[in-house]
């Protein structure tokens, strides 16, 4: 972000802490008016807020894609197990055909669901880049007390102006923050 800029243009990260979604939404408007793009703003909250509540850009989650891929992989695994293994080593039971379709539905269903659930679960971590392996990220512990933390990055020379503008929106705290957004 602002890569390569030095000195007074070097980016600085700040956090403004709010307790009401209304105030946070207004703060984000203020930041945008100043000219800070949405990608240099990050909101952290203790309860989920829909993007529209805070006036943030709506982006679809990638998790359903993981679910679908997982289901597909599970389905293929089930196909392989149910229809493949009897061909590898055929064992007849009860005068029944080697490959019977009806019981396969059960195996197909269970493994499809298993694949889907595991992929969905992993999808959350991959999509949100958890756990943090790429170093320290911005965070404010008061978020877990229900506060809404608005993080933003500005060039150092604009920092004071932004802070003053935000003071009107009633933050309980404006402080420099350390770490990346990611």
């Amino acid at each position: 972000m602002y890569g390569g800029y030095q000195g007074r243009y070097a980016p600085k990260t700040f956090v403004a802490l709010y307790h009401e979604p209304d105030d946070a939404a207004r703060a984000i408007d203020v930041l945008r008016e100043i000219g800070i793009e949405d990608r240099f703003i990050q909101v952290q909250s203790g309860v989920p807020y829909r993007a529209e509540f805070l006036g943030r850009p709506e982006r679809p989650s990638g998790v359903p894609k993981y679910a679908m891929v997982g289901a597909f992989v599970g389905f293929l695994a089930a196909l392989g197990l149910y229809y493949g293994t009897p061909l590898l080593y055929p064992i007849r039971v009860g005068g029944k055909p080697l490959l019977a379709v009806p019981p396969s539905f059960i195996v197909l269903f269970e493994l499809t669901m298993l694949g889907m659930l595991i992929a969905t679960f992993l999808g959350v971590f991959v999509e949100s880049l958890l756990p943090p392996v790429f170093g320290k990220r911005v965070y404010h512990p008061e978020v877990s007390d229900g506060a809404i933390a608005v993080f933003f990055q500005v060039p150092a020379h604009l920092a004071e102006r932004v802070k003053q503008a935000l003071a009107a929106t009633g933050p309980s705290e404006i402080a420099p923050a350390e770490g990346t957004f990611l």
Binding site: P86, P103, M113, F121, S144
Partner: protein, 476 residues
């Protein structure tokens, strides 16, 4: 929440509503966090004594007896020809049934946006996980050669052998594993934000533990978006998995050639039975949490017992319908052996158990649960939990043991008496369950605080004419 717009004369009514409904009685998040953390860190002497006793009893009655059983052979159990399955399978079906509560309360009520679920979804999901942990032991315990259980797992091996995917036991294996993994992940996902909260608020070893478990959760918009999407997918997907699990357990019996087992209605009958025992167990657990865990009277209120009571009554009716249907059709079928089985149930040696089932599952719930005042009493619901579960245990006993006692060759009819080892193991699973639950109650937040706070945001009061009503906003 818009109390300023409410006139003063409605004050009393508003207070009343607040006291009744958790979601209308908001407290600051900090305070709720503190309450939940206090409950977790409340490791007092009584707790340690109870847990020590539970742990020791489990070690002896469950694992000790199991080891003894393995070293000597299954003959230590009371099973005999022709009753090859006994208390172990009864307990297995029972615990699988209990495990349905978590998914039912959490996923189905989430899908249908039943708001009263919010404070106790986690308590119910924990029940699922630990009941499955107990249930999952039984297919291992009841094996003649437990140490060869892994032959049921499909993996490439030097024998060139795979499991028999036609066998209902392999379906069981797949379904239970899917359900166990699925419900554990489903328990864990909504837990992450609460673990992050615990990470921020605790010290020492707890801080290390929660730092690892919360995976660096911060609550950014991205994280919430992915988490909520995943929870949504889970809630929808785990319902059919849950239905499949108990259906497949019922198929262990229904696909067999055994008279008294071979019934087309067993799938839904078992599912309803499972939810019946599961829901009533939730009532019992919530009562236990309410009386034994600090600060829980705020989160778990009579309204929740009331809601559970209504559910329980409906499900008890559903169970009675299936039970009647099954019995009547078998009876009208008129086959000799089936007639004998039904006679054995109702007036034969199995009669005390059979009538216990009828009284505990139909008579008592119907007599008690129609009354709102009784439903609202936590101890009444706890008692119902015990009674219905006794009834459901009896139901599984009748089905497993009763049907096996009678077959097509009268020369080979038999009777069954559970042995001490079997009873000890069956009781040991109960202590294991309570031990694990007790352990978890001090390790993870029992109340999903963020979900409760979200509920606070969603709920409000609105004046209509001279009255005041609850409103719900859709946040999700």
């Amino acid at each position: 929440m818009q109390e300023t717009t409410l006139p003063a004369e409605l004050h009393e009514r508003v207070e009343e509503l607040r006291e009744e409904h958790l979601l209308l009685d908001p407290r600051p998040r900090e305070e709720m966090n503190r309450m939940v953390l206090e409950a977790m860190e409340d490791v007092n002497r009584e707790y340690i004594i109870v847990m020590t006793i539970l742990g020791l009893v489990t070690a002896v009655t469950l694992f000790g007896a199991w080891g003894y059983l393995m070293s000597k052979g299954l003959g230590l159990a009371g099973i005999r020809r022709p009753i090859y399955w006994g208390l172990f399978i009864v307990s297995f079906v029972f615990w699988i049934g209990i495990s349905h509560a978590g998914t039912f309360v959490s996923a189905i009520l989430r899908v249908f946006k039943a708001e009263f679920r919010r404070p106790f979804t986690r308590a119910a999901e924990l029940m699922t996980t630990f009941a499955l942990a107990g249930a999952g032991l039984y297919p291992l315990i009841h094996l003649g050669r437990t140490w060869r259980f892994y032959w049921m797992i499909p993996y490439p091996n030097q024998r060139w052998l795979w499991p028999n995917f036609r066998s209902p036991l392999v379906w069981d294996f797949l379904a239970i594993n899917t359900y166990l993994l699925g419900s554990t992940m489903y328990l864990f996902l909504p837990l992450i934000p609460d673990l992050a909260m615990a990470r921020d608020k605790s010290k020492g070893w707890r801080k290390v533990l929660y730092t690892i478990l919360s995976f660096g959760w911060r609550g950014t918009e991205e994280e919430w978006r992915h988490l909520q999407k995943a929870i949504q997918i889970f809630a929808w997907a785990i319902i059919p998995v849950m239905f499949s699990v108990h259906t497949i357990v019922s198929w262990d019996f229904a696909v067999a050639m055994k008279l008294g087992w071979h019934s087309t209605i067993f799938g839904p009958y078992f599912i309803v039975g499972a939810i019946l025992s599961g829901i009533s167990a939730v009532g019992f657990i919530l009562y236990m949490i309410r009386i034994s865990v600090k600060n829980m009277r705020y989160f778990i209120r009579p309204e929740h017992f009331d809601a559970l009571g209504k559910l329980l009554l409906i499900i008890s009716m559903g169970w009675a319908y299936f039970f009647f249907n099954e019995f009547l059709l078998e009876w009208y079928g008129g086959e000799h052996t089936v007639q004998e089985i039904l006679r054995y149930y109702t007036t034969g040696d199995m009669a005390p158990v059979w009538w216990t089932m009828v009284i505990c599952n139909i008579l008592i719930p119907w007599l008690v649960l129609w009354n709102k005042n009784w439903r609202r009493k936590p101890w009444v619901m706890a008692l119902m939990g015990i009674i219905v579960n006794i009834g459901m245990y009896a139901e599984r006993y009748v089905i497993v043991v009763g049907a096996l006692s009678r077959n097509r060759i009268p020369f080979d009819w038999g009777w069954y008496k559970p042995s001490l080892v079997e009873i000890s193991i069956a009781l040991g699973t109960f202590t294991l369950f309570f031990f694990l639950y007790g352990l978890a109650s001090r390790l993870i937040p029992l109340i999903p605080v963020w979900e409760v706070e979200e509920g606070h945001h969603a709920h409000g009061l609105k004046r209509i004419g001279k009255g005041v009503v609850k409103t719900v906003a859709e946040l999700e």
